[in-house]
Symmetry: C2
Subunit: 388 residues, 2 copies
DNA sequence: TCGCGGCATGTTAGCGCTAACCGGCCCGCG
DNA sequence: CGCGGGCCGGTTAGCGCTAACATGCCGCGA
């Protein structure tokens, strides 16, 4: 329906200048200036202007015909074969240009068996960590000429992971990356088909697949040690859900540090990563005046804890020191600014991609990528324990 | 080279030792790839388990041969053609099962011209809004049997949007969704090729493409009105960058509400969405004692403002009321809990997908989706103005 | 002079699938 | 008893590309 475009254009242009009366129903009133300039002179690419029936996109033999060569020579030019005379190459290039020819990746994929697409299965792309990892992967993939196709999981049981991997595989991806923070996901990977290269990010090292991860244990160690060095007798812990590998590893790093320091090891509290959980668990913690330092397994729960402490009329870091994990963008602006452990998700995405590409290209399991080191960021939520 | 599996398992074991003190006790080099132990019974995925030389994946004619029919009949079964006898269908199904046959989507795409893939162009998938939208889109796409392939933008100039659209298009997607919050992106869409259905999310209505969006103006109106109704003489505003459509619309809703109410319209301050900006601008605002209510264009800047107010020794909402926008998961745990405007990103993703699918299937521009209504969430950061 | 090797191109065969057409078979009807 | 018209299913062509081989040409050494 060609006219649709015109109508739409007209309608939007019609918006009265920004000075108009209230009229909230009228969205068009907003800041018109943007498109006005090119309003009349419809853009170069002649979209809606083109005639009703769109000509079939040019294919290789069209180019060949125009250039006076065979379609195969066109293919050679496209793929940079050395056995093409420069003048032939020039003719072909010119013909491609003239026709606006674009190779059809689907046809190419069919014959080569390579789609230049990578699958990513991810659990909750709304969370800061997975979202950032995904972003890092996409960036790195783009640089290497690959596309990313995502399959996110509704729930985190074993079969959903296998199912997602399977869907991706059928779709013809060259390799798969699983952002698999839970133990279940890791285990599921054992049951995944192995005829497609696969790497896991943030999974535990116990599982079959190749893994790239941030060194959670080291992060937890540095957080706990930081608190100990400030003079706290011991450090409490609000952990993440036990089925998350990362939660387990942070827990482990915390515990080992305490043990090595000969400090008492308090019973950890288990949360679900949400501010809500941090708040509720924080209420319990603040009720106990002997608690002077808490290592919280992520920043969101730390935020909840901060609020609980505040409501209890106590102060951070005066009465209680808090360390989080992740370094979300908001952390520096919490009250007080949160001391936390920064994870470089982008770097992780980059490394996992590199690893996957190696597997795809060499055909065999690549050597492991080293763990990405996390970094302790000291801000205002930690200090020496109160002097009684 | 021996089988890579063993190597990797061993390496990952060593790799971690340096990480932290001791004991990840449980690192058994577990089972290796699926199939070693599964005694032949394992259904479906079993093909992967085959020995050394991986057999070529079964194709349609393999199934046909086993079932004693032609490959075309297999195709009919797969595509649910009515003209297949139930018993034939059963034979074919059984053969597919036995062989672990999976249709090759690439071949299908080549012949049908439909890839069942949708492209999403997104700016910063780390931000809460875009990430959630992407998530919503993916979910909805999955339900409709589509895959999502993402192209994220490094920078936000016009050509990068066009470039991303172009890349996606070449990759053979059936349609494209652009999460285009900036004016530039919207304009760029005018120059995008139109031989592929395209819808924009969060773009301004002035531009050519079909648009789905949350009603930003209404959200800003309800926020501002809420503040006015609490008794504030007027409301200040920290806006987002002017090149963001959403920022413009929130600004507009705020301004119109004040004008309608006959309130004075203070000069708005422009931030960049970051907590940092909210903090710095907040410092300026808190210096002026006459400021009693601020509508901030997003929650992160509101967080920065909260901190600025706190540092200035003033109170929220006692001295100053604050309303944010977005309702990020952390907002309820700010100090104080933030009154804000919730946007349903998931719903937006769902609607934009629905619209795109309509365009793809009917071939013509779909009727517009109504704006998604936002919701004011009143929490602890707003109250009546201080009584002097 | 022949022949051989390497270059630049053309020709042919698929990749795995769907679409279109074709051809038996069985049914009912005139 | 002949025949048209559903059913079911087979056969044949491609989709647009790359891989593998075939061809013609040139230059060079024997």
């Amino acid at each position: 329906m060609q006219t649709g475009d015109d109508i739409a254009a007209a309608e939007s242009g019609d918006g009265n200048a920004s000075a108009g009366p209230a009229g909230f129903g009228d969205r068009d009133a907003s800041a018109g200036p943007a498109g006005i300039g090119d309003g009349g002179a419809s853009p170069g690419l002649a979209d809606a202007a083109s005639p009703r029936q769109r000509a079939r996109a040019p294919v290789m033999s069209d180019v060949g015909r125009l250039a006076g060569v065979s379609h195969q020579t066109v293919s050679r030019v496209i793929n940079g074969s050395p056995h093409v005379r420069p003048e032939t190459r020039a003719k072909v290039t010119a013909a491609m240009e003239e026709l606006g020819y674009r190779p059809n990746p689907v046809a190419r994929a069919l014959v080569t068996g390579r789609s230049k697409m990578l699958g990513v299965v991810s659990f909750d792309t709304t969370l800061y960590g997975p979202a950032s990892t995904l972003f890092g992967i996409e960036r790195a993939a783009h640089e290497s000429g690959y596309f990313i196709i995502v399959a996110s999981l509704e729930s985190l049981n074993r079969s959903s992971v296998v199912d997602a991997v399977e869907r991706l595989r059928r779709q013809g991806v060259d390799g798969i990356m699983v952002i698999a923070p839970h133990a279940e996901a890791g285990e599921a990977l054992l049951h995944a088909p192995t005829d497609v290269p696969l790497v896991a990010a943030e999974a535990g090292p116990e599982h079959g697949a190749a893994v790239v991860a941030v060194d959670q244990v080291a992060g937890a160690v540095s957080a706990t040690r930081h608190l100990l060095e400030l003079g706290h007798r011991t450090v409490w812990h609000i952990s993440g859900p036990r089925n998350f590998i990362e939660a387990r590893q942070r827990h482990e790093g915390w515990m080992n540090t305490l043990r090595d320091a000969g400090a008492e090891i308090p019973e950890p509290l288990e949360g679900d990563w949400s501010p809500q959980a941090g708040y509720e668990l924080g209420l319990r913690l603040t009720a106990d005046r002997s608690v002077t330092a808490v290592f919280v397994a992520n920043d969101q729960m730390a935020l909840g804890l901060l609020r609980a402490v505040h409501e209890a009329g106590r102060e951070v870091p005066g009465d209680l020191s808090v360390v989080g994990f992740d370094d979300i963008p908001e952390a520096a602006y919490f009250l007080p600014p949160l001391t936390t452990v920064r994870q470089d998700f982008i770097e992780m995405g980059r490394r996992s991609l590199r690893m996957l590409l190696r597997r795809i290209e060499t055909g065999r399991r690549a050597s492991a990528e080293p763990l990405v080191p996390p970094e302790l960021v000291v801000r205002g939520s930690t200090g020496p324990p109160p002097t009684p």
